[in-house]
Structures are given as C-alpha cells and as structure tokens.
C-alpha cells in the first residue's frame, strides 16, 4: 500500500503540474474585427438561458420545437431556425396542435394519446377517423402509404404509382390522397375486429420534420357516403394559433405543477428515508448499500439518452449510441414506454459514494412535461434477483 503511494506520488505531482499549466490564462487582443451593415442574426434581448438551451423556462414561454415549418435540418445554416425564434410554439403539454371543424353527422371521440384528433360517424361504431402528427417523416410518404395498404391487404405501390395518386390540400400543401378498398385488419396494436368489406381514405402530408396523417376507416358503404365530409374535415384542418404564429406566453408550469405519484412497493422491499429531491426511496429489506428511488425532472430532463449515458458514466461504462439506446428493452409505464437499462461495474455517484462490483438498474420515462427516472444501485450481491421487483415497482408508478 505504501509502496503504491510512493510510486504514485511523482505521477500525481506531474499531473498537478500539467493541470496548473493548463489552468494558466493567456491574454490576447481581438484581431479579427468585422463591420457589418446588419448583424448576421439577432435574438430577442429578453431570452433566458433556459430558453436558449431549449428547456421550459418558468418565467416565460415553452421550449421551441416541433414546428414543422421551422428549422432547417438539411444542411442549411444552423442559425436559419433563428428566424423562427419568436414563434416556435410548443406542441406538447396537452395543447392540441391543430384546429378543425367537425363535419355534421360526425362526433369527436377520445382517442389514444398518440392522436391529435379522433372522430367517428354518429351511429357507426366501426368507423374511425384520426388525425395525428408524427415527429420525423415516418419513413417517407411511400412507406406510410404502403403501411396503410398493408393494413387493407393491398399490394405495395411503387414510387411511380405513388406519384400518380391524387392530391388533396392539407395546410395549404399538396398531400397524397389514397382510397384503398379491402379487408381492414386494424392498425398497429389495434384490438378492434377486422372489417371484411372495408375502405380506407387517407391523407399523408410529409413535411421536413414531421408527417401529418388523416385516416378514415370503416365499412365500404359508410366510408363512401362520408367521403365528401372527410375531405371537408381535411380542408378545415389548420395549425392551432399557439402552434403557428406568435404564441402567447404560457402560464408558468411551476415545479409544484408537476404531477404527484403513487406506487406500490414490492413485498420484499421497504420504504427508506431518502435524500432531498427524490420522490421516494425504497430498498430491498435487509439491503445495506442498495437503494432505489424515483427522481423527477421538469421539461425533458435532458432526454432519455443523456440520462442513460449519465448512469453508464457513473458505472464507468462507455456511452451508448442513439441506435444502441433505441435497442434497449422497454416496458409500459405511465401510459408510455419506460426505457430500461442495466449496467455493472464500479459505481461512483455524484456525492462521493463508491461501490465496487456494483450493479445499476435504471429506467427512464419521458412524458410530455416531465421526465421520471427510476434508479436502483448497490452491490451486485444485493441486487441479485431483484430485477423483477424493480420492473414491477416502476410499472406500479401512477400519476395521482
């Protein structure tokens, strides 16, 4: 032990010296000075730091994202999106991004959370009309159309056939308009019964950063009789005011405005006294160094990737690429998918805890207005056999 210290001493001294050199501050005069008739870009003078970083700010408006017309993702000037600074209104947080006029004889119904609008023809339970917006282009128009065709049991189209399809105006842009007869087998995850003599009307609008879908399925006869109404509905769709031009400052979503939670502690676990800031801390009964806790962050809390890689960093593991993270196991929780991760290694936490031979279980749940993490770490021996309890615990978490 002593020997090691002796050996290390000069090394440490060298490091310190190097660090000292690195810390030295050089001073320069600005040598490159350019006069312009106008600045290359301007930002609102009252923009806050959080807004500049793309986070929800308690004092002002929400993050800027999701405006399908904003941004310039294809090699343009990263500042080009700046022009949209003032009006990149929020699209999450429960606010509907679109407005529309529901046609007569139709009724709005509550659809799944992934939809932005959901209707059916009054008295026709088998009909289903949906409006949804997808971040990203969903693989492009062709893929989306063929996905629909597959649902109807129709063969795939090629690009030429796609080009030949008629167009319908959505948000003042030409969108592909399909009309597919066939047997409706239901959409992704749909439990609804299939419809034999069915028809699907659909409109796909692919935008630079988003895709908008309007879809009408039901028995052939009903769909045919309602085709004009469908087209009316499509024509009436507009961006909601707060999603388009100048958004009003939104009411401040305070920390207190974030939801509270309930949970069920697994039988072999117990609640512990946890550190400040945690929602709750639990641990397997008898475990000495292990704890498991819920942690709540506002906004997107840095996102899924960042949190997962932060944990991996604590375990001395390399960060995962977005593709690798996309491949991680997911379970249903809080009405969405929780991303799960496991890591082994030497745990080094923020406040100086150190556990050799540790295991870390983590789960990240990203919702519209917050990010909830569930983290459990401790010596590998104490965590053995606890994975199922961990998953059960996180799945038991509900919004109050």
């Amino acid at each position: 032990m002593r020997r090691a210290t002796l050996l290390l001493a000069p090394l440490l001294a060298a490091c310190a010296l190097l660090a000292a050199c690195g810390q030295g501050e050089e001073t320069h005069e600005f040598s490159d000075i350019r006069d312009r008739t106008k600045p290359r870009s301007t930002v609102p003078p009252n923009i806050t730091a959080a807004q500049r970083y793309g986070y929800r700010d308690p004092r002002a408006m929400g993050p800027h994202g999701g405006d399908p017309h904003g941004g310039n993702p294809h090699g343009g000037d990263p500042h080009a999106g700046m022009a949209g600074m003032g009006h990149g209104g929020t699209m999450g947080a429960g606010a509907k991004p679109f407005t529309w006029k529901t046609p007569e004889g139709w009724e709005e119904v509550k659809g799944s959370s992934s939809r932005d609008g959901s209707w059916r023809v009054k008295g026709e339970p088998q009909t289903d009309i949906s409006l949804s917006k997808l971040r990203g282009t969903g693989g492009g128009t062709l893929l989306n159309v063929n996905r629909w065709r597959k649902q109807m049991g129709a063969a795939d189209l090629d690009q030429a056939a796609l080009d030949a399809l008629p167009k319908l105006k959505v948000l003042d842009r030409d969108a592909v308009y399909v009309n597919i007869p066939g047997r409706y087998g239901g959409g992704m995850g749909s439990k609804g019964a299939s419809i034999e003599d069915a028809r699907m009307l659909g409109v796909v609008l692919t935008l630079p950063t988003a895709a908008i879908f309007v879809k009408f399925t039901g028995p052939s006869k009903v769909v045919e009789a309602n085709q004009a109404k469908f087209e009316q509905l499509v024509a009436s769709i507009e961006m909601a005011a707060h999603g388009g031009a100048a958004p009003p400052a939104q009411p401040a979503p305070k920390r207190g405005g974030l939801p509270s939670f309930t949970w069920t502690i697994p039988e072999s676990w117990e609640q512990r006294k946890g550190r400040m800031g945690r929602v709750v801390t639990v641990a397997p009964k008898g475990a000495k160094e292990t704890d498991c806790y819920l942690y709540l962050l506002g906004g997107d809390g840095g996102g899924i990737d960042l949190n997962i890689n932060r944990w991996r960093g604590q375990m001395g593991q390399k960060p995962l690429t977005p593709e690798e993270i996309a491949g991680l196991e997911r379970v249903d929780a809080l009405g969405t998918k929780a991303v799960l991760m496991k890591a082994g290694g030497a745990y080094g936490g923020q406040s100086g805890e150190n556990i050799q031979g540790a295991t870390l279980y983590g789960a990240v749940i990203l919702k519209d207005s917050y990010l909830l993490t569930v983290k459990m770490r401790g010596p590998a021996s104490e965590l053995e056999g606890e994975w199922d309890n961990f998953v059960a615990f996180l799945r038991s978490v509900k919004e109050k």
Partner: protein, 695 residues
C-alpha cells in the same frame, strides 16, 4: 489428358505446326461463336398459318423493320435492335436464346415472340441460372427438377421454371426480400434471385405489352357509347381509349370542382356518391382501361409531340393510357400509334397484313422521333451493332496470331509474315472504326465508361505494339500485338456480359464534359495502356530468362529491355499528365485539387511506381532485369487502379461492385505474382553462373 500428351509428343516441327494451327483455329472459332452470337441460324420451322396463332419464324423483312424502331430506355433513345440485344444479354448472358425445338433465336426474334406470341415465348430458354442454389431457393425440389429436366447451371424457359404458379410467387417474394439487402452485401444466390426476378419481370412486361389489344369491356351504360355497343356486346380497347378524354371530363364535372386533383387513382373504381349512374359507368370504364395496361413493360415507345426542349420523356403504353384515364390527356398521334400496335397484335396470324401494319407503325414513330431530332443516329447504331466490329476484330486478331505463330516455325515464308502483319493493321483499322462509330453515335470522346476504357486501351495497345515494331523490327512487339488485341477485346466482351446493360449509357452531370473526358480520361487511359504494355513486354524478358530461351543472344534481351524502358517512359508521361489533369478537373468541379480518393490514389500509385523504377534504374540500384520485374509489378498496380479500386466500393469514382471482375483480377494477380517469383528464382539461379563466367 490427350492434349498435353499430344503437345509433348509433337516434337517434329510439322506436327507442332499442325497442332498449333488447329488449336488457334479452334480458339478463333470458339471466340467467334461467343462474341458474334447474333449471327442468326436460318433453319425455318414449318410455316403453318392458322387464323389466330402462327408458328413460323419472323421474316427478315419484319426483323429489319423492327430493328430500327426507336425506343427510349435508361434515358436514351436507341434502336429496338440495341434494346433487345442488351435485354437478352442481361437475361441470358448471350445475345441469343433457343426455342423449345432448339432453334437459335436472335434478340429481335425473341423480342417479337415475347410481345406478339407470349405463350410461345414462355418456352424460349432465355434465363441463365448461374447456380442451382437459385433453383433450390425458389422451391424447385429434386423430383420437380427431375421431371422438368432441370439439373444444373443452364438456360431455362419461363415454363421450365414456373410450371407451378406458386414457384413464381416464391421468386417474387424472395426477390423483394433480397432487394432490401444492400446490393454490395448480397450473396451470390441472393444476387442471382434478384437478377432472375428482374429478367422474369421484363419478359412478363413484354408479354403484356400489347395485351390491351384483346381487351373488351361492356359499355352499354356509358354515355355516348351505349348506342353503338348495346347490352350484350362489348367495346374494344381502342374505342374505349378514344373515348377516355370525354369520359374523364364527364366524371370530373360530376365530381365537381371542389378538388381540382380529384382524378381517379387505381385505388378508386369504387362507388362514388357524387356520380350519376352514367358517371359511375364511365368511371368504371376508365378504371378498367388503366387496369388493362398496368402490367405492360414500361419502355418509352411514343415520342411526345412537343419539342425536345420541353418534353424529354417518351411515353410507354401505361403512360398513354394512364394520362388519358387520370387526366383526360390523349395525344392523337399516340392514339393512332397504339391503334396500329393493336392491329399488329391482332394480325399475327396473317404475316402479310402484320408486315403492313408494322411498316405503318415504324413510319409513324420514325416521323415523330425525326420531328424531335431523335432519329438521326438510329440506323447508324443498328449498322454498328450488326457489323459487330469488336467481335469480328477479336476473331481476326486470333487468326493473325495464329499466322504469326506459323511464321516463327517457317521464318522463310516472308509472304506469310507480311500477310499477318497486314492483317493486324487491318484488324486495328476495323477496331478503330468501331471506336469512331461509337464516338459518332454518342457525340462523345472515345472514353466515358469503364467498358470503353477496355476497348480504347486495347486499340491503343495494339497501335503502340505496331509502332514499337516499326522502330525496331524485332518481331517481338508484332507477335504481342494480336495477343493484346484479342485479350483486351475478350475482356471487353466478358465485361459487357457481366454488366448486361447498354454500354452507351447516359452520363451523370459531373461527367458530362467532353473537354475533360477527352483530355484527362484519354491521357490516363493511354497511361494505363502503356503501363500494361511495359509489363507485358517485360514478361518476354523475365520468362525468357526463366526458361533460358535465347541464352546465347544477349542482343535480344538488350532490345527487349530497351522496349520496356521506353514504354515505361511513355507511360510515365501520360500517367503523370493524366493524373494532374484529373486533379485540375476535380478542382473545377469540386473545388479541391487532390482529395486522396481511391481512384486518385490509384493513379498516383502508377506514377509513383513508374518514377521509382526510372529513378532506381538511373541511380544504379538495379539494371534491366529489375526494370522488367518492376514493370510487371507496375502492370499489377495499373490493374489495381483501373479495376481494383472500383471494387472497394468507396469514393467518388466507384462504379459499383462486380464479382466477376473481382475473380478476374485475382487470377491476374496470381499469374503475375507467379511470374515475378519465377523471375526472382531465375535471377538467383543464374547469378553465380554469371560470376563464374566473369571470373
């Protein structure tokens, strides 16, 4: 087993002479067979002419007419002769196929059968299956194969392969799966499946090309047609097509102007509440008309009536019908051409009438193309392919080589030497004529594709050899000249088969510059050529040393050494200038002179190798023997730069992967490495002896 023994025993010059001639002539005959494959066979089948079907062979007159019908495919207007040739080459790996009775069919005969006698054409053996694993994959089990007499790598007909409809579907779904695999990562079987599907689909497209001619539909409820075709009768396709603009207008007006685009995709065809009964009937007919042509091959057959500056793309049958049913647009010229095409299909049984309709069709399309200035080169191109200058040159080079072989054994026959020498020059003239014809047809400098580099470099190589011969008259270069010519043209023909697509393709924007194609590409190709030739001559030196030929004639080796050295200098000049010109071109199109792109590096490697040889020689690091070994190595580098870097599949110059090229390249490297090793051994073996002599 017999051949080596024969060679071994043939010690007397006379037997050797005979054997040699026999082998050479055999080789020549075989090459001619392989390359001039579309020289037709003439045996006619019994000409019975029933009213609806006809089993005869297409007359020369028909084939002549069809040859010069212009079509637009792969972005280029070309004669049907060229299109059919490459279509069959791609599918069958040769420019011919056999029918069920074993008659050899030319590409155009195959084409005409596929279009006008679809059932007949399904028995033509026009699909080359390179590996039986493809047959396994599409589900042809052993006993099925036994029954259908399908056993090995061979050529098969549509009916051989797909007697069972489910086999066809299996192929289709497999091909769809493998199509998603990155083309570079496909296995041989996957590649075979994808290619077979492409070929099969093309044949099916041809089979359905004029299928519309037989389509009839009830139209009794359609306004304006019902009177002529009351219930119980049916209207033919052309009557319907003629009426489509009117029907489209009717449907459109009933649908209302709410949606100006509301046409009527093939998803439609369903009841539309807005339509009256008559409107619905019209809509149904429009849908039916489009469905009738959906499976026909998408090949541009009808030139647009507008000027070429405004409308570039020709109309396929589907385009004509699609535009008229979806948008109500129908060009009267196209309608008439379609009608004549339909008449042809209906009169297959009566060849005289068929020929008359064909003449009519040819005339119409030719006039439409001529009006746009797109017919000028058609007949020239047909003449070029009918002459087949490169195929013929290949045979002639082989014959010249055989003659030269004879002159070695009979040096006293001066007349024969002169004849052989004249034959090489004459063949080169034919070869050059072919290159010039291609330039004229394409309006391009001689080289703009990989295929053309082969043809051009071969020609330049033969010319260089002949010039070297003129400088020295040592007969070495003269003997090598036809070898270069035959080998190069053989590689060219193989490459054409491997690619299986038109060798006069359109060029991407960056290559569309005749100035740089003429300067950089030509210079670098001459550099390649000279580098390879230096390597080839060096073989004479090295192999001569290895086999101790002409050991008592140091003058011979001095001369050969000088040839190698001189050719290397010549190569360096063109390689260096060509490489720098390439950089200047890159600077003009991408804004950087040098980017260490694989093709650029390949060119640089050639320059470096040649500079190293010349500097090493000047610095006295090695002498003639080293220069020759270096030249052989230089030839390997040229092959790497010319073909190898393209196989890496990276960089701006990558032309796509061809496994056949890879194999050829590996064989070349193997041979060259063996020669160099043998040379090194000979050098080591002979060195002490020289010392002894010196001492």
């Amino acid at each position: 087993m017999k051949l080596p023994r024969l060679l071994h025993r043939s010690t007397s010059p006379k037997t050797a002479l005979l054997t040699f001639c026999a082998i050479a002539l055999l080789a020549a005959g075989w090459a001619g067979h392989a390359s001039a494959g579309d020289a037709g066979a003439g045996s006619g089948a019994p000409a019975t002419a029933p009213a609806t079907t006809w089993n005869g062979r297409w007359s020369e007159e028909v084939l002549e007419l069809v040859a010069t019908i212009p079509v637009q495919s792969q972005g280029r207007v070309k004669p049907l002769h060229t299109w059919a040739g490459f279509a069959l080459l791609g599918s069958n790996h040769r420019r011919s196929c056999k029918d069920a009775d074993g008659n050899k069919l030319k590409p155009l005969e195959w084409f005409m059968d596929a279009v006008f006698r679809p059932e007949h054409s399904k028995n033509h053996r026009c699909f080359l299956i390179a590996t039986t694993e493809v047959l396994d994959a599409i589900g042809l089990t052993e006993d099925v194969r036994e029954r259908r007499k399908i056993k090995k790598r061979d050529r098969y007909s549509y009916n051989d392969l797909f007697a069972d409809e489910k086999d066809r579907r299996k192929l289709q779904s497999l091909a769809a799966d493998f199509h998603k695999v990155d083309a570079k990562k496909r296995t041989r079987v996957e590649m075979g499946i994808v290619m077979l599907e492409t070929s099969v689909r093309m044949l099916e497209g041809l089979n359905h090309l004029v299928a519309f001619a037989g389509v009839q539909m009830p139209v009794s409820e359609v306004p304006g047609m019902g009177e002529r075709f009351p219930a119980g009768t049916k209207a033919g396709f052309m009557e319907i097509l003629e009426a489509t603009p009117r029907l489209h207008a009717l449907v459109k007006s009933e649908r209302g102007a709410m949606d100006p685009h509301a046409g009527h995709g093939h998803d439609h065809g369903a009841k539309d509440p807005k339509l009256s009964k008559q409107g619905q009937a019209a809509d149904d007919v429009l849908t039916g008309a489009f469905a009738a042509v959906r499976r026909s091959l998408s090949i541009g057959m009808f030139p647009p009536s507008g000027p070429i500056s405004q409308e570039k793309q020709w109309f396929a049958v589907t385009d004509v019908v699609g535009l008229s049913t979806l948008r109500g647009m129908l060009d009267p010229g196209h309608l008439e051409a379609m009608r004549v095409l339909g008449d042809m299909a209906a009169s297959v049984g009566d060849q005289r009438q068929f020929t008359a309709h064909l003449k009519d069709y040819h005339e119409r399309v030719r006039k439409m193309a001529e009006a746009r200035g797109e017919y000028e080169k058609i007949e020239q191109e047909v003449a070029f392919y009918q002459l087949d200058p490169f195929g013929k040159s290949l045979v002639l080079y082989l014959i010249a080589f055989a003659l030269l072989g004879v002159t070695w054994l009979r040096p006293q026959w001066r007349w024969l030497e002169i004849a052989a020498w004249g034959l090489v020059w004459g063949t080169l003239a034919l070869h050059t004529y072919g290159i010039v014809q291609r330039c004229l047809i394409r309006d391009r400098p001689p080289i703009s594709t990989l295929y053309e580099t082969v043809i051009f470099i071969t020609g330049t190589g033969v010319l260089t050899m002949l010039l070297i011969e003129h400088m020295g008259r040592h007969k070495v270069a003269l003997a090598l000249a036809p070898i270069v010519g035959a080998l190069g043209l053989f590689i060219g023909a193989r490459y054409e088969v491997l690619k299986g697509t038109d060798t006069m393709p359109q060029l991407v924007a960056v290559l569309d510059t005749n100035f740089w194609l003429a300067t950089h590409v030509t210079a670098i190709s001459i550099g390649y050529c000279a580098g390879l030739i230096a390597g080839l001559i060096a073989h004479v030196y090295v192999l001569g040393k290895v086999f101790r030929i002409k050991q008592d004639d140091p003058g011979f080796y001095r001369v050969v050494g000088k040839m190698v050295y001189g050719t290397l200098c010549f190569a360096l000049l063109f390689s260096l200038v060509g490489t720098i010109l390439g950089g200047i071109w890159a600077n003009d199109s991408w804004g950087r002179f040098w980017g260490w792109d694989p093709k650029e590096n390949g060119a640089l490697l050639i320059c470096i190798a040649q500079l190293a040889i010349l500097h090493g020689r000047m610095g006295g690091l090695f002498k003639t023997f080293g220069v020759c070994q270096g030249a052989i190595f230089g030839g390997m580098i040229v092959a790497f730069s010319w073909w190898g870097v393209n196989l890496l599949g990276i960089g701006l110059h990558s032309y796509g992967f061809t496994s056949g090229v890879m194999r050829g390249l590996m064989i070349f490297y193997g041979i060259e490495a063996a020669v160099m090793l043998a040379g090194t051994y000979a050098w080591w073996r002979d060195r002490p002896k020289k010392k002894a002599v010196a001492a």
